[in-house]
Amino acid sequence: MRKGFSIVFVLIAIFAIHSMAFPAKIDPGKLGVIYYCAFPVTITLDGKFDDWPSVVPWHKVPHDRGTQPAPDDNDASYEFACVADENYLYVAFKVRDDKKVVGEDTGCNVWKDDSVEVYIDGGNEKANSYDANDSQVTIGRDNVGGDPEHPKLGGCVGQLQGPNTGTKAFVVDTDYGWAVEAALPLETWGIELRDGLVIGFNTHLNDDDDKGPRDHKLIWSEKDVADTSWKDPSVFGELKFVEVKLAVSPRDKLATVWGALKR
């Protein structure tokens, strides 16, 4: 009887901790228009995704959303999520890709191979050309096995070019394709984190299936209808930072709770 009571109590405690850690739901925003980015949440760049809170929304960009659509989602599609802490904007990508191509084009030309792109307009000015707080950061699959502290980056446009942003990235191969965990330093774009802050934001996927030129180009922002984000921040969508109350990671907390109950 006493054992049964303890089990029920433990389950209630687990539920309570999980509920305290994050709100039941974060506004999913709108695909291609706005993403709600929860903070403060700190992520370890290890390609495992187990420290991404389950309530964080993932926006799925299907195979036919972009200027160079793919025949199906297995050929090319992706989903991404974002969180932030006082230092970094963390962006995760899960890329479906049936034919992985890397090493043909690297550095500034990595957009021709398998790669993802993050676009930031720190001031959300929506100008028609890049200013000092606008960037394209391109992260290639050629970073698999590389140094996450110093990844090879593309996005060599504008004043604040991708390789000079201090972005860190961990890239891994997966059974469905490949994945990225990236940390973009907020200070690079002069972003001072606060609840309700809105920045310009976009994500892209470049998919190369057979060497040679890029085969598929998928785009999140619905305003970027002709793949012009690389030169025109006015076609970005938006990312809004939303503070989550009592945001603590539930990871490793269960053992502590269980230990306390046993005592």
Binding site: D64, P69, G212, V225
Partner: protein, 225 residues
């Protein structure tokens, strides 16, 4: 019963998508108006015969012909097959003109060895909206262009290869279609032109379609026989 009929008449009529096909099997090009270049119907194809050595950047350098349809395409689909001469070894190029407000303003899709390019045509100037690399076959390619509002989707040989939009207020909403050749050493053949969309229908291609001013001529011809 009469009340029901009256009620039905009061209901707004739905718009129906129609179809136009010219397979050029009748051997004539009536319905088409050559704007520039030498064009002829031959073996079930409309053929641009004159060579154009340098890639055109303006319609004034393009060999092209316009379909003088009584309708204008807004949303819908245009499809056709384009046959390049084997001797060109991928060097020749073709244009599908669409939503042409007149002979010098509208859009064009170019099929060439590097892939697909969509132009906005402003007073004859070919202004690139987007070029996407794609596998274009050196001989026959089937092209399908889908139009929906600002969106333009291009299927090449049965595969969706390009999807772009023209969000500008100055975009062309509707217009006629045409065929063109901006660069070629050898004849380029256009086959089985199909247009589908709201308000599209099969007008007689062997009859002048702009009736204004034509009826007296026809009547004169008949009387003269």
């Amino acid at each position: 019963m009469r009340g029901l009929i009256c009620l039905l008449l009061l209901l707004p009529l739905p718009a129906f998508a129609g179809l136009f096909i010219d397979d050029f099997e009748d051997g004539d090009d009536f319905g088409w108006r050559v704007v520039r270049g030498e064009w002829k119907v031959e073996g079930g194809a409309y053929v641009s015969a004159n060579p154009i050595p340098n890639a055109a950047r303006n319609l004034s350098q393009v060999s092209y012909t316009m379909l003088q349809s009584p309708w204008r395409i807004k949303d819908g689909a245009v499809e056709l097959s384009i046959r390049f001469d084997e001797r060109a070894e991928g060097g020749d190029e073709a244009l599908l003109l669409y939503r042409m407000e007149d002979d010098e303003n509208g859009y064009a899709l170019k099929i060439w060895k590097e892939g697909l390019t969509i132009y906005k045509i402003v007073v004859g100037n070919l202004i690139t909206i987007r070029m996407e690399p794609s596998v274009v076959k050196p001989t026959v390619n089937h092209v399908k262009l889908e139009l929906e509002g600002m969106w333009m989707k291009v299927h090449l040989n049965g595969v969706l290869r390009m999807r772009i939009g023209d969000p500008e207020k100055s975009r062309y909403e509707e217009g006629r279609i045409g065929l063109g050749v901006p660069k070629a050493k050898f004849p380029v053949r256009f086959e089985e032109v199909r247009v589908e969309g709201e308000g599209i229908y099969q007008f007689r291609v062997n009859m002048p379609v702009e009736a204004k001013g034509k009826l007296p001529l026809l009547w004169g011809e008949i009387k003269g026989r």
